[in-house]
Symmetry: C2
Subunit: 213 residues, 2 copies
DNA sequence: CAGATTATTGCGTGCCCCGCACTTTTGCTA
DNA sequence: TAGCAAAAGTGCGGGGCACGCAATAATCTG
């Protein structure tokens, strides 16, 4: 009997499809950062990769989706990062460490791109699509959490945990994007996760002291 | 001296603008539920309200935005709901109670609309736009939390709390939408909020028993 | 009431997304 | 290795959408 590989061996067809999709997504992101989303035509992305505009729309249903595809592409790495944590780690520690592992794996983007990203995300359509990409990753993370937590876990709670992680990621990213060059992403991300894992005690304490001084 | 009203008195112009926006949003939602989003032209929404299609685009930059505008419209009620909680309530209790107050104020939608909503949200663009609407409300909630927590509170943590609430709302809504008619929205919502306020202890316990039986 | 401001509208333009039919490529099998 | 079925790529065409611009209509202000 032949052992079933975790990722099935892909035929040439599948590999080419995957490569085309990745090339289109990468080209879309790079060109959008270079010249801005509204100065970027679907035709440009397609010709950059060497396919017809019609083919572009066989892979992505909008250029916004293509630009955000790199986020969705992280979902397998998210899953693997959590699986890679030792079984004895408590759930929150495993989740936080997995997030750290993965976030520190890919280096922080060039500072010059930050302004471009910020400008691009003013575009409502792109911003919405980014949120959708995050939601997709969230679903995968929820599955991974359910898997780790075992059969007794409430899937809804796993989903909630994934939602919390996604919120932390999104907020830390937004902060990093809109703050000066001295702020880093990872410390903010971890701080938010730790706070959340404890039920936001710092904030609750501040509120208590504000209402009963 | 005349007291400054919380909502400034609006001239006829402003009132008409607001009314037009609300009418367009309501028409968009109603028609989209009736016949589905892709069977709905911008022209239909405009003519329903009695304005030109061009005017529609002066108010909303897409029909998806119009359909989701009712979500964004809740932001003031969210703010007020939190302000209305007594000052002695701990932060989490105030937030949860405010959410409950507001969620129970507007009755649950008709069951026949549920199927329509679920089908509509298969549309990627609409789903993305819904997430963007939730993000908008989240920002307002974060402001309200900051205000209640006082000057010593970390705005980032307030943002995180708002993100958690938004996640709970989104997940509870999704569950309610995709489950049978016996599940209710509010209990799920409250359960998720209580779990989150305690750092997801139930899930963590399940994970611990799964890894060390 | 008169002038200033602001909203509405029609028109034109460029682009996008997709269905459909046709061509090319790929992978399997005899 | 030749041939065939399945699947991907492509060209064409259409319906529709978003928005800039300029003209017109409604509203506000003094």
């Amino acid at each position: 009997m032949t052992p079933e590989p975790a990722t099935p061996v892909l035929g040439l067809r599948e590999r080419k499809k995957l490569a085309a999709r990745q090339a289109l997504g990468a080209a879309a992101l790079r060109l959008a950062l270079e010249r801005g989303l509204d100065q970027l035509r679907v035709e440009d992305i397609a010709s950059e990769v060497g396919v017809s505009p019609r083919t572009f729309n066989n892979y992505f249903s909008s250029k916004e989706e293509a630009v955000c595809s790199f986020i969705v592409a992280q979902q397998e790495r998210v899953r693997e990062a959590l699986r890679a944590r030792p079984a004895h780690e408590p759930l929150w520690e495993a989740v936080i460490n997995a997030a750290v592992d993965q976030a520190s794996r890919d280096g922080s983007p060039r500072r010059e791109d930050v302004r471009r990203m910020r400008d691009m995300l003013r575009n409502a359509g792109l911003f919405a699509e980014m949120l959708r990409a995050h939601a997709t990753v969230e679903r995968v993370l929820a599955e991974a959490v359910t898997e780790r937590a075992g059969g007794t876990a409430n899937p809804l709670h796993a989903r909630m945990l994934a939602g919390i992680v996604q919120s932390a990621s999104r907020i830390a990213f937004h902060t990093w994007l809109t703050s000066g060059p001295d702020t880093e992403f990872l410390p903010t991300f971890v701080d938010l996760l730790r706070e959340a894992s404890a039920g936001m005690p710092t904030l609750a304490a501040a509120a208590a002291s504000a209402t009963a001084p």
